[in-house]
C-alpha cells in the first residue's frame, strides 16, 4: 500500500510526484520573489533620493556569485555521480556544495556586520554624513532624583519594569531608593515584585471602594538616595526626546525628570554626501565646529576636478557637453559625494596643502589614531540617523529583505542537501535511484536559489 509514482514517473504525465511538487513549490517561489522584485521596482521608481549604485561591497558580492555558480555545478555533478553509482565522487561533490553554501553565508555575515557598524546621519539641511560612532550613541541625562513608575491596572502593553528597562542605563553604581512609605530598598527583581504587588493591591482597593469599572493604573514614586545620571541610547526610550528635553520616558513607561547633560553625537566621518543639500558651499558640514573650511576646500577641489573631467570626457567642442551633467548619476556622485580617507584633508596643490594643514579641524581623531576626522554633532542639527540597516532608506530596506530572504533559502537548501549526505546512508546503499531523485529535486531548488542571486547581484550591487 505505497503511494504510486514516488520513484518512477507516471507514464501519461512523465513525472514522478516529487518533481511535480518541487516545480509547484518553485512556481510559488517565483511569485514570492516576483512580489519582492516588483516592490524593488516600485521603490526605485518612487525613490526621492539618489539610488545607491556600487555602494555595497562588489568584491564580496562577486565572490559570492562565483561560489553559488560553483555549487550549482557541483550539485549537478553529485547527481550525475550518483546516477553512475560513483559513491565517493557523489559524497565529495555534495560536501563541496554544502561548503560553498557555508562560504556564501560567512561572506554574507561579514557584509552585514560592516553595515550594522556603519552610520549615516542626515543633517537638517539635507547633508548626509556617513561614518562610525566610536563610542556608540547614548544620551546623557542627569540630575534625576525620582523614578515615576506606572503600574498598569490590567495586562498592558506598557507596564513598569525598571529593573529590566531603566536600571541598566544608570551610570555608575545604582544607589538605594526610598519608597513613598519611607522605606529604603535596593531595587531588584524581588523587591520590585513586592512593590508592584502592593501598588496593585491599593489600586484594586480603590476600585472597590469607589466602585470603579476597572482597576486603575497606580503611580509609584521612588526617590534615589543620590542623584542619578543615565546614559541611554535613544532606541531604549519610548519616544525620541526633543533637544534639551527635561523629561525622558523609558520603554516600560517609567519617566524621569532632570537635565539633558549631553545629547551630542560623536561621529568619525568617512563621507560627506551633498547631493540633497540645496547650497553645497553653505552646508552645515562646513561649520567650523564640524568639518570646517579646510574640508570644504577639499570638497570644492574634488567637485571642480569632477566637473573638469566630465567636460573633458563628454565635451562637444562647443563649450557644452553631450550629456546632461544634471542627469548623470555617476557625475553627481563624483561631484557631491566626498569620501574622507584621512584625519586631515589631503591637498592636491602645494599651496592648498599648506592651508589645509593650517586650518585642519581640531583633531580629536588623532587620539584614537583614526583615519577619519571626528565631529561632535549637535542634536538640533541632526534630522535623522541610522546605521546601514533597513531603517536607513528604502534601498537598504529592500536590500536586507531580498538578501536576507535569499540567505534563508541558501541555508534551507544547504540543510536539505546536507541531510541527503549525512542521514540518507541507508537509502544510498539500498535504493540509490530514489536518492538520485531526491538529489535531483534538491538540486532544482538549489539552482533556483542560484537563479535568484543572478538577478540580485546586479540589481543590488552593480546597477
Amino acid at each position: 500500500m505505497d503511494i504510486p509514482y514516488t520513484v518512477t514517473a507516471r507514464p501519461d504525465t512523465g513525472l514522478y510526484n516529487a518533481k511535480v511538487g518541487i516545480w509547484l513549490f518553485l512556481a510559488s517561489e517565483v511569485m514570492l520573489f516576483g512580489g519582492l522584485f516588483s516592490s524593488y521596482i516600485f521603490l526605485r521608481v518612487g525613490a526621492d533620493y539618489p539610488w545607491p549604485v556600487h555602494e555595497l561591497n562588489v568584491t564580496l558580492g562577486f565572490i559570492n556569485t562565483l561560489v553559488l555558480i560553483g555549487s550549482s555545478v557541483t550539485v549537478l555533478l553529485a547527481w550525475a555521480s550518483l546516477k553512475l553509482r560513483r559513491i565517493g565522487a557523489y559524497k565529495l561533490y555534495m560536501l563541496i556544495t554544502v561548503l560553498c553554501a557555508a562560504t556564501f553565508m560567512v561572506n554574507k555575515t561579514f557584509e552585514y556586520k560592516a553595515k550594522f557598524e556603519h552610520y549615516s546621519v542626515t543633517l537638517t539641511d539635507g547633508t548626509i554624513l556617513t561614518g562610525h560612532l566610536p563610542h556608540g550613541y547614548s544620551l546623557e541625562f542627569g540630575d534625576v532624583k525620582t523614578l515615576n513608575l506606572t503600574v498598569a491596572g490590567k495586562t498592558s502593553a506598557v507596564d513598569a519594569d525598571p529593573v529590566k528597562y531603566v536600571l541598566p542605563y544608570v551610570k555608575g553604581d545604582v544607589p538605594k531608593f526610598r519608597t513613598e512609605a519611607g522605606e529604603e530598598i535596593t531595587l531588584d527583581a524581588a523587591s520590585f515584585a513586592k512593590l508592584k504587588a502592593e501598588a496593585h493591591a491599593k489600586a484594586v482597593e480603590k476600585a472597590k471602594a469607589e466602585q470603579l469599572k476597572e482597576v486603575p493604573n497606580w503611580s509609584v514614586k521612588l526617590t534615589a538616595a543620590a542623584p542619578l545620571t543615565f546614559s541611554v541610547p535613544p532606541s531604549k526610550l519610548l519616544a525620541k526626546p526633543a533637544p534639551g528635553a527635561t523629561m525622558i520616558a523609558f520603554r516600560d513607561g517609567t519617566s524621569v525628570e532632570g537635565r539633558m547633560i549631553n545629547d551630542k553625537m560623536t561621529l568619525e566621518v568617512d563621507g560627506v554626501d551633498l547631493r540633497a543639500t540645496p547650497d553645497k558651499e553653505k552646508s552645515l558640514a562646513w561649520n567650523e565646529h564640524y568639518l570646517g573650511s579646510a574640508w570644504k576646500k577639499a570638497f570644492i577641489e574634488q567637485r571642480d576636478h569632477a566637473i573638469a573631467e566630465f567636460n573633458e570626457k563628454y565635451g562637444d567642442g562647443k563649450g557644452g557637453t553631450t550629456r546632461d551633467p544634471n542627469k548623470s548619476a555617476t557625475h553627481q556622485k563624483h561631484q557631491f559625494f566626498m569620501h574622507l580617507h584621512s584625519a586631515k584633508p589631503e591637498s592636491h596643490g602645494a599651496d592648498g596643502a599648506h592651508k589645509a594643514e593650517a586650518h585642519a579641524p581640531a583633531g580629536h581623531g588623532e587620539a584614537h589614531a583614526s583615519h577619519h576626522p571626528e565631529v561632535q554633532l549637535e542634536r538640533k542639527d541632526v534630522q535623522f540617523f541610522s546605521n546601514f540597516t533597513p531603517k536607513l532608506n528604502s534601498y537598504y530596506a529592500i536590500y536586507f529583505t531580498l538578501t536576507g530572504l535569499h540567505g534563508m533559502h541558501v541555508v534551507a537548501g544547504a540543510l536539505v542537501l546536507a541531510y541527503f549526505l549525512v542521514c540518507n546512508g541507508r537509502m544510498l546503499r539500498e535504493d540509490p535511484e530514489r536518492l538520485a531523485n531526491r538529489v535531483e529535486v534538491g538540486g532544482l531548488f538549489w539552482h533556483f536559489v542560484d537563479l535568484v542571486w543572478i538577478f540580485l547581484f546586479p540589481l543590488l550591487y552593480l546597477l
Binding site: V58, P458, L463
Partner: protein, 103 residues
C-alpha cells in the same frame, strides 16, 4: 532525462561548459556596470539582458527545462503570466496617477 552512462557523461561535460560560461558572464556583468552608457537606464537594460541570459542558461540546462514534461511548461507559463502581471500592472498604476488638472 539522460539516463544511460554515456549520456550522463556527455551531460557532465555540458554542465562544466555552462558553469564556465556563467562565470565569464558574471565578469562581463561587473565590467559593464562600470562603463558609463548614455544614461543609467541603458546600464540597467544591458545588465538585465545579461542577467536574463545567465538565468536562462541555469533554467534551461541546470534545471533541464530544455526537455521537461509538458505539464511543467504549462504551470510555469501561468506563473510567468501572473508574475508579469504583478510586475507590470503595479508599475503601470504607479505611472498613472489621478490628475485633477484634467477634470
Amino acid at each position: 532525462m539522460a539516463d544511460s552512462p554515456q549520456e550522463i557523461q556527455k551531460a557532465v561535460r555540458k554542465i562544466l561548459w555552462i558553469g564556465a560560461i556563467l562565470i565569464v558572464f558574471t565578469v562581463i556583468t561587473v565590467a559593464l556596470s562600470y562603463v558609463e552608457l548614455p544614461s543609467h537606464s541603458w546600464n540597467l537594460i544591458v545588465g538585465m539582458i545579461v542577467a536574463t541570459f545567465k538565468a536562462a542558461l541555469v533554467a534551461l540546462v541546470f534545471m533541464h527545462l530544455n526537455h521537461e514534461a509538458k505539464l511543467i511548461y504549462k504551470i510555469l507559463a501561468f506563473t510567468t503570466v501572473f508574475a508579469l502581471a504583478i510586475f507590470l500592472l503595479i508599475y503601470f498604476t504607479s505611472l498613472d496617477p489621478l490628475e485633477f488638472a484634467r477634470f
